[in-house]
Amino acid sequence: MQPENFKETGSFRKTRFILLSSIIFILIVFLFWAQTAWIFFVIVFMIVIVFSTMLFWQHYAAPDLDLFEQLFLTKNILINLFTRSPLFLTIKNGVIEGDYLLLKNKPEINVLNIDHKSAVLIEGNSNQRSLLLNGVHINIKKSKLIGVFNIGIRHIHLGPCAESDLGTKHSNESLAEFHLRKELVERTKTRLNSGDLIYPSFAIFYRLEPSGQEKKDSMLFQSICEKIRNDGSELVSSEMMDDFIISQLIEGWSAFCGDKNLDEILSNIPVSYELPLLTEFGIRYQITLEQIF
């Protein structure tokens, strides 16, 4: 009996598969060695049984797929038993699980498993782009991932939270934490024309909202991707979306500051901020300039 916390590794699973397959193979060879006429019958019998039983079990594992998708999935699962490439990519909270992004030569992905808070923009053979939402998506072979988005609510706090955030490294702070804090603070650093150096603090809440209309959504997310992907990167990630919104905000903030002095700026705080480009993209957002350090 397996202990409760027993975790099966990939190699163990493959070993068991090979063991069972070998038993079946040996049985066939042993029994049908001299009976070549029956070999064909047995092979057909086996293939039919393998596909039908797998379809049966698969129906309960992925019930939303239709019969042809199930057949395609069965084929892929069987092929995957003999290859090293991953069978499918899982995207959770707008993040691709595993090391797919790090791989120089990206493996071909046949199945995409997308959670309810993610959306994926793919490009097919004929350069046609489509947006995939929650569910298991089959038959995306030869499609290219263009963008992976988090369609849940996002909250970003930009700028310092307290005056201490502007200081040097604290004794109880790791170097990584210090650099993270410093980067967070430095992003909003603004020097006014009057010579004052200020650090505004922003609270950003936003979410991308697919309308449910396939064509409209594809167009919308495609235009977002094109706007964001300006550094030649292959795949737009949800972090890039955050960065895009932050850069838009900083740009707007710099324009707002213009030739204003500190008193003029302080007299308007806190204030809700509007970014026309985000409204144009149909992004729901609430950006507030909370305080200035």
Partner: protein
Amino acid sequence: MLNFRKSLKDLFLVNHEAGILRLFLAAALIFVLWSLLAVISSAFDPFGSMDFRNILGINSENLALSLFLDIFDAYFSIFSFSLILMFLLIVLLSLDIVADFNLRLRSLQLKNISKKYLTSCAFSFPGRKKLLFPDDRFKASEDIFDGPLKAGIKPGCALLLKSKPSYSLIYNSGENLENIEISLAFREKIIDCFNMNPASIAFFVKDQSQSRSFLVDASYDYDLPTETGNMVKYASMLALFDSNNFREIIENLLVTETNLTLHQYFRSHPESSAYPSQEMQDDPIENNDKFSKEFKQKKYSRIVNFYKKGNGHGLKRNRKRTIYSRPISEVPSLIKVQEKNLSSSVMDELNELLEINLQNTLISLFGTGCLKAKILHFQEQGSK
């Protein structure tokens, strides 16, 4: 064609009776297949018979016994027996492969759970435990939270379910302090479990133009609709959150909205008694200096772990620090404040304005209002 599809769908229905029926059908199918192989074996005799007469040493002239031995020979011939054995092996092997696929699809750790899920769906095999939410296994992905499943919900908790085509929410308001029992159907899935108990927070908001800050005590409650249509909207809104950061985001949103509301109110009511402070007007430079010390404390005091009580000398900084967390709960007892309670009419006006602002923001963000918030206590912090 339509009827055929419907019949095919009915064949895969997932409920207890259908599972038992499928189990009998599977047994019948195995028997039919075995019989078919036995017929082929007796007709063509591919590998020869086991000849049980010789093995068992029976040489009967009894017709019934002879017939029985013939049937036995056919069923247990090398051909039919080996093929039926292979069939069973393939069934197990395919279960193993699909369980593995299911395991990875649902990011599970234990294959046994995956197999139990598949067999209980297919043949109503027992083995799936009843779960009581909130459950630690949910966050650790240690079980499958898809139907068919029986689950209990503790008071104050809400389960967010995904069933095609939309989301739904089952909330235990906890009126009787009893758990609610629910049964999830196949294709229904538990997405998340939220704690919906009302809560209160205390935080500071600052008015930098007047160099002052206010200590605000506010409470919030989730505004659950009663109509089905609105409930679906509400559930879709909750699906945008993660139970891990749900409260954090809601509280941050509330702090931001309260901040905006207070400033909006005081800008339109500059004559309000609590604003501006007399001391600030008397000696702005000195008080600003004093204020900056207090102000520093206030900013830090937004973080609970950042403070500890000093030994009669006000506050001492705790070495723990957090960059992001803002809402606090213990600050009022720790900080010396100059209390300037607002009159109830001002408070009512403020709460009214907060409700309008909060609803507008929630609707613009989520398409539905989902929160009721109230400022309970409000103090201007000054220097003594």
